[in-house]
């Protein structure tokens, strides 16, 4: 899919081609929303909102950055706005509902241990400050560079470095304390 052609086509009035963009990016948007927004966020609603907002924002897209970066930025903004309005991720009493991670491992004991590990990790990233969590998630997401993250978060590379450093430090501390 040549994104530039698709967008120009949509802007020229061929709305049906927007479906191609939605199909291409909906899993990525859902995944990013899940990692930044936490288990209580309505992933489907967030994903839908991102694509409706993206459609309205298309005339402002000037092809100066990649469409993916534009979509990630929009996702981060939509999810952070949602978190701000309904401030919640996990309280200490909540049991994080972590979807199972795909694996070929059929050993039940190992699977339980692994799920427990992910549950703790997911709960720990939920306790991070939203900005730190966003930077860290993007860092682990599609191998983003610091510069890409700065572009998505609309801040400086130095700030991204600092956010990731603090996020890793805090996460490490939380996971060590939880042992």
């Amino acid at each position: 899919m040549n994104e530039e052609d698709v967008i120009k086509d949509i802007l020229a009035g061929n709305v049906n081609r927007y479906e191609e963009i939605v199909r291409e990016y909906q899993d990525i948007v859902a995944n990013l929303s899940f990692k930044i927004g936490g288990p209580k966020i309505d992933i489907e609603e967030m994903t839908q909102q991102v694509f409706v907002e993206l459609y309205s924002a298309l005339p402002r897209f000037k092809f100066q950055s990649k469409l993916s970066t534009f979509i990630y930025r929009l996702t981060v903004n939509v999810v952070c706005k949602e978190l701000k309005h309904n401030s919640r991720w996990l309280t200490s009493q909540d049991e994080p509902n972590v979807p199972e991670v795909a694996s070929d491992d059929y050993n039940v004991e190992q699977t339980i241990v692994r799920d427990e590990r992910y549950r703790k990790l997911y709960a720990a990233i939920g306790r991070l400050h939203t900005e730190q969590r966003t930077a860290l998630v993007l860092y682990t997401f599609n191998d983003f560079s610091y510069s890409d993250i700065a572009d998505v978060m609309q801040c400086t590379v130095a700030k991204v470095e600092s956010l990731i450093f603090r996020a890793r430090k805090n996460l490490k501390k939380m996971l060590t304390d939880d042992r």
Binding site: Y18, E19, V22, N31, K35, I43, V52, Y55, P99, L121
Partner: protein, 109 residues
Amino acid sequence: MTDDIFIQQLRELHYDGKVDVTQAVMAEVRKKPLLVSAPDKSRWSLKRISAVVAACVVVAVIFNFIPTYTHQVDTTQLADDIAAIYDFHAGYGDNNSYYEYYLEEALLN
């Protein structure tokens, strides 16, 4: 646990619920036609014009205000005025009654 292990775990952690919002999004976007760039540009220029006008008003107000304000607190001017009153007063010699009469009249009125 080293940083690299939990970073790796975070990479593996993903949402496995299937999301398909295509139909819902398409139904939504078909309802609203896109406003292509022209109105966007004019909105920007309108914003810029408003900003420039607002800046001019602020500058005009400041420059209009400063001379009035400095005149009011100009201590040199004030000292000159006081000296002039004393000079006027001195013109009547030691007899202050004439000056004091007018001063009292002024205060009473």
